[in-house]
């Protein structure tokens, strides 16, 4: 148990620092500190704005089996349930070219509507829907991207995670192979971890 004296001594020091002059001076110094460091601040951006750009890169660095691509002009990127991008996907990727295809964003209310999607994003809020979604997809050539803790263990292919407020991702190679998807070595190199039979890193 902490003793009395330490607490009271601290209180009197704090009381002194609360004198109006000291307070005003501290405020001024802190203000300068604030202005100085904000000028030197690093680049910051909204999480989902950056994740939208990641999805675009994923689409370029994954090879789909030819029969899955040939039949379609549009590359459908789908979100399931709650859409955390709030318009960022449309503004970042809609209409961009992925090989011979054009990217098109679709927001699905129900997991049942996944037909036609080449990449599916299921956000944090949809953690409970994931096993149903993956069961529904089976071995269809669809890149599943998620955020929940056990997304890869449940059979998802790419999982976003944050490390010191920077975006990282993990890959489940087994799941990718089952879906007949080839993930480029560049993407595998950048992944924070890769699980699957080609040797975990």
């Amino acid at each position: 148990m902490a003793n009395h004296c330490t607490g009271c001594a601290a209180a009197s020091t704090i009381r002194e620092t609360f004198g109006p002059l000291v307070r005003a001076a501290a405020f001024g110094v802190a203000l300068l500190m604030g202005a100085a460091s904000s000028a030197a601040a690093q680049s910051q951006a909204d999480e989902y704005r950056v994740k939208a750009a990641f999805l675009f890169h994923f689409a370029q660095l994954v090879a789909w089996p030819p029969d899955a691509v040939l039949s379609r002009k549009s590359f459908d990127l789908c979100t399931v349930g709650d859409d955390p991008f709030r318009g960022e996907l449309e503004s970042q990727v809609e209409g961009k070219a992925i090989g011979s295809q054009t990217m098109h964003v679709r927001h699905l209310k129900l997991t049942q509507d996944v037909r036609g999607c080449q990449m599916i994003f299921a956000g944090r809020e949809e953690a409970k829907e994931i096993s149903a979604l993956l069961t529904l997809l089976g071995t269809a050539p669809v890149v599943t991207v998620g955020e929940s803790d056990d997304f890869l263990l449940q059979g998802g292919i790419i999982r976003f995670c944050l490390e010191q407020n920077r975006i990282r991702f993990e890959i489940n190679l087994d799941a990718a192979e089952k879906a007949k998807l080839k993930i480029s070595s560049r993407l595998l190199l950048l992944a924070k971890s890769v699980i699957g039979n080609q040797g975990a890193r």
């Binding site: 003793n3 009395h4 009271c8 209180a11 704005r49 956000g123």
Partner: protein
């Protein structure tokens, strides 16, 4: 005027900062960047909850886990002091007056308080005994505070505000926890907790004790208001199936506290006296929550709770309550999000009472049932939402009442939301309102006959009704600066007044005495209005400032036939007109942080309490994830000041004094 100085300082700071440019990535096309580049961008995250909150059409404020950790607060009422415009006043060591948007008092009856959706609001006097609203702070995920009515979902008594304390899921509190604190007011407080998991269940179990010292009293140097509480509880969260989640939680507590009261002791001489009451409290609850998700757009919640409490104070009440609540949320098409629910509550109360206070009849069993429906319509998806709904509730005293509301939220552009709402709320009578027999004071007539001033409940009392008009604006002005403004115009009718009734001679208990009674009647009406503003400014990576200011004004009057000259003044003079706060959170080094706050509270006219500034400070040193040590100082500016002193309080007020404590938190 301290607050004016603070405000002008704040506005200067804000204006001078607005000129600074922040490097932002939001205008660029990020897909042109390489993956390596993207991996280097620091991202700012807005959770779904925050996003929802920023678009909510009500004056909601959330106290987060992090803010709780840094607050230096010892009690839940202390935590609520950071909510813009919240009226938090401590009466004595163990008694608080807490309200929002006026009508404050020890028995403030217009604020609904819940823990994990279970009401801890007591129907006896429609208020909360804050001394038993106790939780280990480490287990609180967040506290959601809504200023303004919430009757459409939560029912009667969610009139001026709703507080919901939400505890953490078992998966977030795995491992051991030891918290120990001590200081000049808290002689000791300890929490022991263990959290683990078994198959698909995460659980925790805790025990807690604290020993709180007395404050200097208004009439005696020792206010005799010390209190002690032992508290143990558990929570378990199970994933029963892919669709079903089951939460079971419960607790038991027992404690004792003293109160210094000045009241009627007999009808003979000495008719009044100061007495120290030793009160025992005990109780507990058990609650289960079953959530089932049918699909992403349909889910149900069933909550069943049982609550038992006994309080050995003047009234000596024992109450058992069972509550069953069912809610179903579902999306209809892409535009409608419906939620509807039914609720049933059965409460059994038995009271003892004494010469000072009793209920007539002393025992009462009450039923409460209600149903509500609400539709959130996306008129323009993610831009314009209209929420309309109503609750129909039946209570024991006044029967059926409807609490409809309409709310609009317009997201003008990303991070800028304007909202407005019109709602009706009801404050239904409590057991005290309907059946109290309170002997407030005694005196002798010139001829030597004893006389007693008595407050009588009125079984025919009607609901107090509120029609509230609210508007607000929430904006992310800069990457680092957000603003929240809410304004309200509340129109009340049928508010309870205390009307003199015919005097009579009472012979039992003897000796014969004259009774000067007054009785509750619904004869006050009028309106209140106010503005609450809050800024959240992340000055830099290390420093956050949170200034807030609130203003409120009451325009209430009695009906012409009323003879009550006191109540209106009491209501007006028990809440401050101006309120301001500056909170600061500074990370000094990687492991050392300093948090400080100053609250300005305007004077309480009817109580003769001058305005004051209260300053609290916390210095925290963290050794890694598992160990932290903090030194906290509270009420640092002045050693003796009153926060609240109402004639209607049961306990005599105590002076707030300068205090300090040290706290050690160890997780393993």
């Amino acid at each position: 005027m301290n607050f004016l100085l603070a405000l002008s300082l704040i506005s200067t700071v804000v204006i001078s900062t607005a000129g600074l440019a922040w490097p932002q990535e939001n205008s660029a096309d990020l897909t042109a960047r390489s993956l390596e580049d993207l991996m280097n961008i620091e991202v700012t995250s807005v959770s779904k909850k925050e996003q929802k909150l920023s678009q909510t059409a009500s004056a909601i404020f959330v106290i987060t886990t992090d803010e709780i950790k840094r607050s230096g607060a010892r009690t839940i009422p202390d935590l609520l002091r950071m909510v813009p415009g919240m009226d938090v006043a401590q009466i004595s060591s163990n008694v608080w007056a807490i309200s929002a948007r006026g009508f404050n008092g020890e028995f403030a009856d217009k604020l609904l308080v819940m823990v994990d959706g279970r009401s801890v609001f007591l129907p006896t006097f429609s208020g909360v005994f804050w001394d038993t609203v106790d939780l280990p702070f480490e287990d609180i995920e967040r506290i959601e505070v809504i200023r303004g009515p919430g009757g459409t979902i939560w029912g009667a008594n969610a009139v001026n505000g709703v507080i919901n304390i939400i505890t953490k899921n078992g998966s977030e509190t795995r491992g051991g926890l030891i918290v120990a604190e001590g200081g000049n007011l808290t002689h000791g407080a300890e929490t022991l907790q263990y959290g683990g998991n078994f198959r698909n269940t995460n659980y925790r179990i805790f025990t807690r004790h604290f020993d709180q010292s007395h404050l200097p009293g208004l009439v005696l140097p020792d206010g005799q208001d010390q209190w002690h509480l032992w508290h143990g509880g558990f929570r378990s969260d199970s994933r029963v199936s892919a669709k079903d989640d089951l939460t079971v939680e419960g607790d038991l507590y027992t404690g004792y506290f003293s109160d210094l009261t000045h009241s009627l002791t007999s009808f003979a001489s000495p008719i009044q006296g100061t007495a120290i009451l030793q009160n025992y409290v005990g109780g507990g609850f058990l609650q289960t929550d079953w959530n089932r998700r049918y699909s992403a757009s349909s889910e149900t919640k069933l909550q069943i709770s049982f609550d038992d409490y006994a309080r050995n104070d003047n009234l000596r009440e024992e109450r058992k309550t069972i509550n069953i609540d069912f809610q179903h949320r579902f999306a209809a098409g892409t535009r409608h999000d419906f939620v509807w629910g039914v609720d049933y509550r059965y409460s059994v109360s038995a009271t003892g009472g004494n010469l000072r206070i009793s209920l007539i009849p002393p025992d009462r069993n009450t039923n409460l049932y209600s149903a509500f429906i609400q539709d959130e319509m996306a008129l323009i998806p993610d831009r314009l939402a209209l929420t309309i709904g109503t609750k129909l509730e039946h209570n024991y005293y006044t029967g059926f009442g409807a609490m409809p509301s309409a709310r609009v939220a317009w997201t003008v552009r990303r991070h800028h939301t304007v909202w407005g709402a019109v709602s009706r709320a009801l404050d239904t009578p409590s057991a005290v309102d309907a059946s109290i027999n309170l002997n407030v004071a005694g005196f002798f007539l010139p001829n030597g006959t004893p006389a007693v001033v008595r407050v009588l409940g009125n079984p025919k009392l009607l609901d107090e009704t509120l029609l509230a008009y609210e508007a607000g604006y929430r904006a992310q002005l800069l990457k680092s600066l957000s603003l929240d403004i809410a304004a309200y115009f509340n129109s009340y009718s049928q508010v309870a007044s205390l009307e003199p009734a015919a005097r009579f001679l009472e012979t039992t208990p003897g000796p014969p005495h004259l009774v000067v009674p007054s009785m509750y009647e619904n004869l006050i009406k009028g309106n209140t209005r106010g503005v609450e503003t809050a800024l959240h400014w992340k000055v830099n990576e290390r420093w956050t400032l949170a200034p807030a200011y609130a203003f409120q004004q009451f325009d209430l009057s009695t009906e012409p036939r009323s003879l009550d000259t006191q109540t209106v003044n009491d209501i007006k003079g028990s809440s401050p007109q101006h309120w301001a706060r500056l909170g600061s959170d500074l990370k000094l080094f990687r492991s050392l942080s300093w948090d400080a706050s100053g609250n300005f509270v305007g004077r309480l006219k009817s109580q003769g309490i001058p305005s004051y500034v209260r300053a609290d400070s916390q210095l925290t040193w963290s050794a890694g994830e598992s160990l932290s040590f903090s030194l906290v100082g509270q009420n640092l500016l002045r050693d003796r000041h009153l926060e609240f002193s109402s004639q209607l309080s049961s306990a005599l007020s105590g002076y707030m004094k300068r205090s300090a404590y040290a706290k050690l938190t160890w997780t393993f």
